[in-house]
């Protein structure tokens, strides 16, 4: 054996690493486009940004204050110059000052990112837990059980998260008083929002996973595993699942986008701290730097999550290696 050949495992890891780097480079390019697009799109916004800085048209600022603020925020320079300055600051990690909160955007983002991350991750985890419980146990079982579970999935996927959120709020927060109706401190405030986001998502992922699990259970290798005397649940969890989760895993990349969209509404309903609610407020207050900052962070999170999902997919299914995404 020559020394240059790496062990297959090492070689796979190296290939995954190269892929990760390549995807990260592509991701940075996407983020640059996102930054450019938001910058120019938001310049089309009606209304004078200077007025937004000074507290809206009702603030009645004098001509001098307007001129001063225009200069202070660099709004008197031509657009290409503003864009170049903006990109230059962006590379240094400076996202400007929020018009509405008069704080550095990066500080607002630092405060608001964790609650949203917590919410999306707990929802995704809860959704997968529901999916596994529902599909692995019922797929390919007696017909009525499987069709009952399938009905539950279709119904779950059709439930809008905001309606679910309101119902949960009415029932468990105001009715039974089991959970707090608002706020973002402690795990108890996380329960109802996560359930509202997880149930529709679980419905979507479970539909795909059930179909693929049912196909997998008909594969010859499953029969082989059964003839080796493995129990039914062991066959399902140890052998079939790894194949069956693949479509669900690739759907999870999309799911993160859907979760962030959902987080906007859910954070508003449950009055939670977070990027979604902040974005909603920033848009209403015409707060350009904050809107751009949140869009960028959300896009970065989404791009990163999709790279992770892609790598996970490659790891779970070595047949995909060398396959361009």
């Amino acid at each position: 054996m020559s020394r240059t050949t790496l062990s297959p495992r090492r070689e796979r890891l190296a290939r995954l690493g190269r892929r990760a780097l390549w995807r990260l480079a592509g991701g940075i390019l996407v983020l640059w486009a996102v930054a450019t697009l938001t910058f120019f799109a938001l310049r089309l916004m009606p209304g004078d940004p200077v007025l937004a800085i000074l507290g809206g048209p009702s603030g009645n600022p004098t001509a001098e204050t307007i001129a001063e603020a225009t200069r202070e925020y660099g709004l008197d320079k031509p657009l290409p110059v503003q864009y170049a300055l903006y990109l230059g600051r962006l590379v240094q990690g400076d996202l400007g000052i929020s018009y509405s909160q008069h704080l550095p955007v990066t500080r607002v983002l630092a405060q608001q990112s964790w609650p949203t991350l917590e919410l999306t991750l707990s929802s995704l985890a809860l959704a997968w837990l529901l999916v596994l419980a529902l599909t692995v146990v019922t797929a390919g079982r007696r017909r009525w059980l499987a069709s009952l579970a399938s009905l539950a999935e279709t119904l779950a996927a059709a439930l809008p998260h905001f309606w679910l959120g309101i119902l949960l709020l009415a029932l468990f927060a105001f009715g039974l008083r089991l959970f707090p109706p608002a706020g973002s401190d402690g795990w108890r405030t996380l329960v109802l929002p996560s359930i509202a986001l997880a149930i529709p998502l679980a419905g979507f992922i479970a539909q795909v996973t059930r179909e693929s699990l049912e196909l997998t259970l008909e594969q010859p290798f499953v029969l082989t595993a059964r003839t080796r005397g493995l129990s039914d649940l062991a066959v399902r969890f140890k052998h079939a699942l790894r194949h069956a989760v693949l479509p669900g895993v690739s759907l999870s990349g999309w799911a993160i986008g859907a979760l962030i969209s959902g987080a906007v509404v859910i954070e508003v309903i449950f009055s939670r701290k977070g990027l979604g609610r902040q974005l909603y407020q920033a848009v209403q207050a015409q707060d350009l730097p904050l809107t751009i900052g949140i869009s960028l962070v959300v896009a970065a999170g989404y791009v990163l999550a999709n790279i992770v999902v892609d790598l996970l997919y490659q790891w779970l299914d070595p047949r995909q290696q060398g396959n361009p995404a």
């Binding site: 592509g26 390019l29 996407v30 983020l31 486009a33 996102v34 697009l37 938001t38 799109a41 938001l42 089309l44 916004m45 009606p46 279709t154 119904l155 996927a157 059709a158 439930l159 809008p160 905001f162 309606w163 309101i166 119902l167 709020l169 009415a170 105001f174 986008g257 859907a258 962030i260 969209s261 959902g262 906007v264 509404v265 508003v268 309903i269 974005l279 909603y280 848009v283 015409q286 809107t291 869009s295 959300v298 896009a299 989404y302 791009v303």
Partner: protein, 287 residues
């Protein structure tokens, strides 16, 4: 093809036809969609009272014989509002899906037929658009163009377009080199005619199902925006707006939000079930 293989495939075809017979689920879904369409065209058939009539002493009545779905904070009949809201909600869903699909077809054709370089450009543009979650894209749009029904439709359509565009592009690439396209080209048909007559119809067929389900999803996203107060203006009977108005009273009047939401759920559910039924029918016929 020999007679033997033909005979061997016949029983399979029969089995599939039996599987696609109308079962109670799809039947209910199609019936509900039909009722919705009738309600959208002729709301007076179902609801006799004025959806905007304010009757202060009737405020906050729970569901009863006189008011099936109860009344809201101004004494307006919620059943009547839900029925009258059908038109606007269905219209928003259909228009947004149509818009999303038009953008998707334009981008998909451009990518699928424009050559490798343009295709890479379109693929990259789609990746950039994907980096904005649909509601974030819609919020940005509303920030620029203001709220209201028009911007709401465009925002919802824009949010859905990248997903459809990816599918159309894949379909165009799959169909592009099919035998019938080659035949049409060999016959000397002009490219635009081939696109309109052969390429698009064949590329779009598998997407009909996605579109059916897409209308339901568009209604959900549009209601989410209305719910945030970015769609139809408050007294208007639109499902999302009604949810938004009822939100302040969830602690003691659940029916204000329950029934409009229920109609959103039933609509999405029906479009999903009907879409899946269509898919089975189409696959049965194609194989």
């Amino acid at each position: 093809m020999s007679e033997l293989t033909l005979e061997a495939t016949l029983p399979q075809v029969r089995v599939q036809r039996r599987a696609s017979r109308l079962r109670p689920g799809p039947l209910l879904a199609l019936a509900f969609l039909l009722l919705l369409i009738v309600a959208a065209l002729l709301p007076q058939l179902f609801a006799h009272s004025d959806p905007l009539a304010i009757v202060p002493h009737d405020a906050f009545h729970p569901p009863s014989q006189a008011h099936w779905f109860g009344t809201d904070q101004s004494g307006r009949d919620i059943f009547s509002r839900v029925i009258h809201g059908t038109r606007q909600s269905l219209f928003i869903g259909l228009a947004a899906t149509a818009l999303a699909m038009s953008i998707a077809i334009a981008l998909g054709l451009l990518g699928g037929l424009g050559g490798a370089r343009i295709d890479r450009g379109v693929g990259w543009l789609l990746e950039v658009l994907f980096a904005f979650p649909s509601l974030v894209l819609a919020l940005l749009f509303v920030a620029i163009f203001g709220s209201g029904i028009g911007p709401l439709i465009i925002a919802t359509g824009l949010g859905g377009a990248p997903g459809y565009a990816r599918m159309v592009r894949g379909q165009v690439l799959a169909v592009r080199n099919a035998g019938y396209i080659e035949a049409a080209r060999a016959l000397g048909h002009p490219p635009l005619r081939i696109i309109a007559r052969q390429l698009l119809p064949n590329a779009m067929r598998p997407l009909i199902v996605t579109l059916t389900m897409g209308v339901g999803q568009a209604i959900v996203w549009a209601s989410a925006l209305s719910f945030l107060g970015l769609g139809a203006r408050p007294p208007a009977p639109e499902w999302g707006t009604m949810l938004s108005m009822g939100r302040d009273f969830i602690a003691n009047a659940w029916w204000l939000t329950f029934f409009p939401g229920l109609f959103i759920v039933l609509t999405t559910l029906s479009t999903t079930v009907a879409g899946r039924y269509l898919q089975q029918r189409l696959e049965g016929r194609l194989s």
